[in-house]
């Protein structure tokens, strides 16, 4: 792989998009955080309103732009803007939310072209404390819709886990491109 490519990190609010990019980026991430005034919906002090941005260099020398979307649906106009030209997507699922499988369907539906072309990896977080749905359940939902994607458990606070996700996506892309 050569030159510069973009990988998009998306998922619900609090799923770990900003954390993932901060864990892997070699530059101080560019963030667009605002005070979260909707603490009833999600008890988190700040929320991303436009994008997160970081950079990561591959061993072969290519540069990866790490771009994170805002999570809330009211910012979905940004999703398409940020996805333009992306090589692939890391979809982060928060397993502590009320219906993680519905979250999966929502985001896969929005980024359907990426999912159907195999340009997506699904990462399920907080599985240590919330074991259901199981990883296989996510794969089953995708399979029922005729989609085959890697589904992995990940703690995106750990750089190695985020690196694993990026490598999984790049491996997946090598097979599909």
């Amino acid at each position: 792989m050569s030159s510069e490519h973009k990988i998009l990190f998306t998922g619900t609010m609090g799923a770990g998009k900003t954390t993932s990019i901060a864990a892997l980026s070699e530059i101080p991430p560019v963030v667009t955080e605002a005070l979260n005034s909707d603490r009833l919906a999600y008890d988190k002090a700040t929320t991303t309103v436009a994008l997160d941005y970081g950079e990561f260099t591959l061993e072969e020398g290519g540069k990866i732009q790490l771009v994170g979307t805002p999570g809330q649906m009211r910012f979905d106009f940004m999703w398409g803007v940020l996805a333009r030209g992306a090589l692939g997507i890391v979809l982060l699922i928060d397993n502590s939310r009320p219906d993680p499988l519905a979250d999966l369907r929502t985001y896969v539906g929005h980024f359907e072209a990426f999912a159907r072309n195999g340009r997506m990896v699904v990462a399920v977080g907080r599985t240590e404390t919330h074991m259901r749905p199981a990883i296989d359940d996510f794969g089953d939902v995708l399979a029922n819709d005729g989609i085959l994607l890697p589904v992995l458990s990940a703690d995106v606070r750990r750089r190695d886990d985020v690196l694993m996700l990026v490598n999984a996506l790049l491996s997946q892309l090598e097979m599909t491109l």
């Binding site: 560019v30 963030v31 667009t32 955080e33 605002a34 005070l35 979260n36 005034s37 909707d38 603490r39 009833l40 929320t47 991303t48 309103v49 436009a50 994008l51 805002p70 809330q72 009211r74 910012f75 106009f77 940004m78």
Partner: protein, 143 residues
């Protein structure tokens, strides 16, 4: 003060200022006060527009402006102007927060640019002063 009370206060304080802006400035289609995380708090509209979506866009633009200003060493972004074929959109931060708020004003090309900027800035300062005077407004403003 509860979130709902704080939201009511912002609405009560800002609405007359938005109305005055819409009355005094030619070509106003909408004036919206939004929270920095994209919720519409209060608005005055002349033309029907998707206010919730515009509020989210206002906060995203303001967030991008802040990031751009920070990355270029220019500190905080204050204003963003979208100059388009048939009019302009002005985004301005309300000074003196918290809570961080953003004013979005949509105008047609009937609005002289200098007057637009001046009256939008006056509106922001007036809202900021009123909020400061009634202070003890919590950071959380959405119910």
């Amino acid at each position: 003060m509860s979130n709902a009370d704080a939201r009511r206060l912002a609405r009560e304080l800002a609405e007359p200022h938005l109305q005055r802006l819409a009355d005094d400035l030619p070509g106003v289609r909408a004036a919206i006060l939004a929270s920095s995380d994209g919720f519409e708090l209060v608005s005055v509209t002349v033309t029907e527009l998707p206010l919730s979506q515009l509020s989210a866009m206002a906060s995203a633009m303001q967030g991008l402006g802040d990031a751009l200003a920070r990355e270029t060493g220019l500190e905080r972004s204050r204003d963003i102007i979208v100059d388009s074929d048939l009019g302009k959109v002005v985004l301005m931060s309300i000074p003196g927060g918290p809570p961080p708020l953003v004013l979005m004003v949509v105008v047609t090309d009937q609005s002289p640019f200098g007057q637009l900027l001046l009256q939008c800035r006056n509106c922001c300062v007036a809202i900021g002063n009123d909020l400061k005077n009634r202070t003890s407004m919590p950071a959380s403003i959405a119910s």
